[in-house]
């Protein structure tokens, strides 16, 4: 029973903000009280933007990248080499690779990395879609661009074990990337070198 405590509507909003990644209880409270102070219009715009994203954005049925149109722009771009598939952990990693300017194939987003100790097994990642893509026969090489962490390496080995029997070439980014660091933070030159020097898993 809340007597004289925080009004329930605010408590609810605080709780929602607190669930967001990187938002602690303090920041959640600050954000909620900020919303309370802004005009109705601004609050509505925020609410609509949130709903819009959920309504319009979906996962590409081919590569699992986030998109408004299915299949996504990468999967329908015929200037790209559609037989070369670069597998990344998260959608954000694609921007890092695109920024390096040295890659002209397409992508596949796993939406995570094997971390069974924290409850993420192969069935929680987009391996099924990747398998279907390779079984389709149009893929000649799969480049595993998962992060150079223990989990990233294991994910790459798992992909090699999964796809190897299908006769597709599975490669791994070269060791230019410092171990343990995320792709997202790699500089363009390092990333480019890692792409060029990829090796079979």
């Amino acid at each position: 029973m809340a007597t004289g405590g925080t009004p329930e509507a605010i408590a609810r909003l605080v709780e929602q903000f607190n669930r967001l990644p990187g938002i602690g209880p303090k920041s959640a409270q600050r954000l909620a009280y900020h919303i309370l102070r802004v005009g109705d219009e601004e609050a509505e715009a925020l609410a609509n933007a949130v709903l819009e994203v959920k309504r319009r954005i979906r996962l590409c049925s081919v590569c699992c990248y986030i998109t408004e149109q299915d299949p996504c722009g990468y999967c329908t771009d015929d200037r790209r080499d559609q037989s070369l598939v670069c597998v990344v952990e998260q959608a954000l990693d694609i921007s890092a690779i695109e920024r390096s300017g040295g890659y002209n194939g397409v992508y596949h987003v796993l939406h995570g990395v094997l971390n069974p100790m924290d409850g993420v097994g192969p069935e929680d990642l987009r391996f099924r879609e990747l398998l279907a893509r390779v079984q389709g026969g149009s893929v000649s090489e799969v480049i595993m661009a998962t992060n150079p962490s223990l989990e990233g390496e294991a994910t790459a080995m798992y992909a090699a074990k999964l796809l190897g029997p299908l006769g597709v070439r599975v490669t791994r980014l070269a060791r230019g990337l410092p171990s343990g660091a995320d792709l997202e933070y790699a500089d363009d030159v390092t990333l480019l070198r890692a792409l060029e020097g990829r090796q079979a898993v």
Partner: protein, 265 residues
């Protein structure tokens, strides 16, 4: 009120990592003196972090932590022992992950458990030295159960202490081990195990890990033991651990993992 020290030293094996925020990770560590503890490492996912590589799952490291309000913060990390062969082999990695998760599930926070630490450490060493992952796993399961207070009684009937005849015998986790024919009706769920499997269980209970991995276990006995012990662990933890399933799927005897999560389709 006495002021607590603001920093403290600790060492242990990293059991798991969870990424939080932009570039932070929370690590759960199991140490010989502190037992299980956790802390956050700020900015560890950026390439410039000096701690990365030393704070990786399945690595034994020495740390300096600062007391935080909600979470302690890793400020320094230095590897004492890493197990490179585990990271380079999917089957060994899955087995090691399984042991880490077993430790995680069978322990509470801040309860020192040096024998359990020793078991995890020698198991990782054995995997890294090239021992058969299946044998190491069975040894870990049997001794993990014992250290967690669920020791399997395999020398006599777990219910009435009678001598066991050399025959196929029920292994009933609820009763605490093997049960004789007379006690079978009241022993609850279990699985019949063969005489060779019982011999292996008895040997595992008293052997060291290197002795045990030196023993050749025929394929069908290994398979039987894997299923029987998985049943006991499932009984105590109420579920099959995701790492147990992965380790099982990736062991050479099983089918290729060509259908990821097939049973959830």
């Amino acid at each position: 009120m006495a002021r607590e020290a603001r920093t403290f030293r600790a060492e242990g094996i990293v059991l798991r990592r969870r990424n939080v925020g932009e570039a932070d990770s929370i690590f759960v560590v199991f140490g010989p003196e502190l037992g299980k503890f956790e802390g956050v490492a700020r900015g560890i996912r950026k390439s410039r972090s000096r701690m990365r590589g030393h704070l990786e799952p399945l690595t034994f490291s020495r740390f300096l932590l600062a007391r935080g309000r909600t979470l302690d913060v890793f400020t320094q990390a230095e590897t004492i022992r890493s197990f490179p062969r585990i990271g380079g082999d999917l089957e060994r990695w899955a087995a090691a992950s399984y042991y880490a998760q077993l430790v995680d599930r069978f322990t509470g926070e801040d309860a020192p458990h040096p024998e359990l630490f020793e078991l995890l450490f020698v198991a990782l060493e054995a995997l890294n030295d090239g021992s058969d992952p299946g044998s190491v796993s069975r040894y870990v399961e049997i001794h993990m159960l014992a250290l967690a207070g669920f020791e399997l009684q395999v020398d006599a009937c777990a219910a009435c202490s009678a001598r066991l005849s050399p025959e196929e015998t029920l292994l009933a986790p609820g009763a605490g081990g093997l049960v004789c024919r007379q006690c079978r009706p009241g022993a609850g769920v279990g699985r019949l195990v063969s005489v060779p499997a019982i011999k292996v269980l008895r040997y595992a209970a008293r052997a060291s890990l290197p002795q045990f991995t030196g023993l050749h276990i025929p394929g069908e006995v290994a398979e039987e033991l894997q299923q029987a012990l998985a049943g006991v662990i499932r009984y105590h933890l109420d579920r099959e651990l995701p790492t147990a399933r992965l380790a099982r799927e990736l062991s050479p005897g099983s089918n290729d993992p060509a259908t990821p999560g097939a049973d959830t389709l």
